[in-house]
């Protein structure tokens, strides 16, 4: 099959969906220039009315998209850096996320927020390394974080077609990845996780950036005789709770590998669900490998100290497999 990079897969989803539906427009800072690639060719294909470069006014253009959606449009709002959403928080959290319910269902808000380069990519320090999905989940936005080019296209198409606000987090460390991507338009349903690797001893639940990492660690541990299953939720809200519990129950051991803060991060919620619903299947305590609870420090050595790394994942896997020093 044809191979595309992640950014090209996003780009193809934009191009094909915008060609299909005139009510879609894309708005944000430096969209037309498209220097990273995911918005390449949009201006030429759809013109300046549908491909809008904004002033640096994050709250303004988010609210603009909300009003346009209420008037019948289907906006894509692109943030070039995840932490820019904080500047627009009232308009995202207090307005777009709440209006459909507060208005008693009078309006739908079919808005896709594309959040580029999510997570740490090295040397970006405190304000350019965030992976802010816990905030968005708490606000009730639908959140997807695809880990492969195939899923990037298919989940982007679903995100655009969903008549609710959806945050699409494009993880920094997978943007250059190549993978099989069908040329035709296809969609991947929300709320369905995916087993990325079969295994029998331990289940690793990995999100976004960390899925390729988890697969690499699984290969490495196979040499040690540990069989690791890797499960990717793909969509964080809606969450495939059943798929999660099945994946965990099948091995009876789980390590949650999540690049968000430890306190009230996504792994904390996964852990609670597993504790409530799959407790009986557990042969060892749940382990979390997450980001530390601080802003990302700059120096590489400090950054590595606070990130969920392959080494920490490997250690956690070994520890759940050898509970109290004996094979569990």
């Amino acid at each position: 099959m044809r191979k595309l990079r992640y950014l090209q897969a996003m780009n193809e989803a934009y191009l094909q969906e915008m060609a299909r539906d005139e009510s879609i427009f894309i708005i944000g800072e430096d969209i037309r220039g498209g220097i990273r690639g995911e918005t390449k060719g949009l201006l030429e294909a759809f013109g300046p009315d549908r491909v809008i470069d904004t002033p640096i006014s994050e709250a303004g253009f988010v609210g603009f998209a909300t009003g346009a959606a209420m008037a019948g449009m289907r906006p894509i709002v692109q943030f070039q850096v995840p932490s820019l959403i904080y500047v627009a928080f009232d308009q995202i959290v207090n307005q777009a996320a709440k209006l459909p319910l507060m208005l008693g269902g009078q309006t739908r808000l079919p808005i896709t927020y594309t959040i580029m380069v999510a997570g740490s990519r090295g040397g970006q320090a405190g304000q350019h390394s965030d992976n802010p999905y816990p905030f968005l989940l708490h606000a009730g936005l639908k959140v997807v974080s695809p880990s492969t080019p195939y899923e990037a296209k298919g989940l982007m198409v679903t995100a655009i077609r969903e008549s609710d606000p959806v945050a699409f987090l494009a993880p920094a460390m997978v943007l250059g990845q190549r993978g099989d991507v069908p040329e035709e338009l296809y969609s991947i349903p929300f709320g369905k996780g995916d087993v990325k690797r079969e295994g029998t001893d331990v289940t690793v639940v990995a999100v976004g950036n960390l899925v390729p990492d988890a697969l690499a660690v699984a290969e490495q541990l196979a040499q040690e005789g540990i069989s690791v299953k890797v499960w990717d939720p793909r969509t964080l809200l809606p969450l495939d709770r059943e798929g999660l519990c099945d994946a965990v129950s099948s091995t009876g051991r789980v390590v949650l590998y999540d690049d968000s803060n430890r306190t009230c991060g996504f792994a904390a919620e996964l852990s609670a669900i597993i504790g409530e619903r799959a407790f009986g299947s557990l042969r060892a305590p749940i382990k979390r490998v997450t980001r530390a609870d601080i802003p990302m420090p700059f120096a590489t050595i400090l950054e590595q100290a606070v990130l969920p790394t392959r080494e920490r994942l490997a250690t956690a896997i070994r520890s759940v497999c050898f509970h109290n020093g004996v094979p569990a």
Binding site: D49, T54, P55, S57, A59, G60, F61, V62, G63, F64, A65, T66, G67, A68, A69, M70, A71, G72, M73, P75, D90, Q91, N94, Q95, L99, P100, L101, M102, L103, G104, G105, Q106, T107, R108, P110, G140, K142, E162, S163, D164, F190, G191, L237, P238, L239, R241, E242, E276
Partner: protein, 345 residues
Amino acid sequence: MNARVDTDRPTPISIPASRAAELYKRMKLIRRFEETVVTLVDNNEIAGVTHEYVGQEAVAVGVCAALRDEDIITSTHRGHGHIIAKGGEVRFMLAELLGRTTGYNKGRGGSMHIADVGLGIYGANGIVGAGAPMACGAAYRFKRAGWDRVAVPFFGDGAINQGVLHESLNMAAIWNLPVVFVCENNMYAITTPLSEVSKVQPHERAPAYGMPGEVADGMDVQAVYDATYRAVERARTGGGPTFLEFTTYRYVGHYTAERLMKTSYRTPEEIELWRRRDAIEAWGRRMVADGLWTMHERDAADREVESLLEEGVAFARQSPAPDAADALKYMYDTTYPETPAWGAE
């Protein structure tokens, strides 16, 4: 303060008699609606607090009289007046305030979120200035579709230092959007006087964004209508946005509970001065003076307002409360298992 205090020699009314009577009725309906709401709050029939529009009626009514049904507005925390002026029905508003399923928002919104999207009312809003960018987005839709509709965000003097309002003024200007920004200057943000938070009057900021700014007497419904009409026509014909400031006054506190508090930010004399310029009374008198109706017809209009409210209150009281099992409804268009999730299994 730019408002004209002299009320002795009003200009002749230039609005047709039937239209003028409608403006009177709408203003009166807002006033009596708010007084009714206060009673219902006191009776504990309405939960929480509401922000009364008493005193400012001429602004909402004058502005909305210059709009068509298909134009849209965004409103504020003090939104009841805007909603009635844009054509909102008081029975559905009252049902919403009483938290009933027949309310505009099916009991999910309450006073600060009442909306009727079909009537072009994109909602009252609990966050100061937040409706302005939404109005710009709707205006973009109108412009792109080639429709001659306009979007009108209402906001108070308190909003003029809110960042998102500036972002919206700028977007409307650079993209030449059909937006008429309406600033209701009632001179206080809760208790903070405008003079403490701005060196200039709100409309004086407009030229800096490249749009006209105008101020008019918000206690004169004709003046409000005339200024809005000009701005709306300009917007409809591709002339871009305008910033309108209307000087006005709320006779009552920032919100219902202020009556029970000791406040000193306004003197009784100041409040009395503005009450003497009451827009509703003045308009009723002017209509009589100009021979547009008789006192008898005015009284009939008042009775019509009373019966609308009586029917509205009865409708609200008789309406069913929401089913607790439906509490999670309306969050999403497409739902999934346990999405949204309850707090207990």
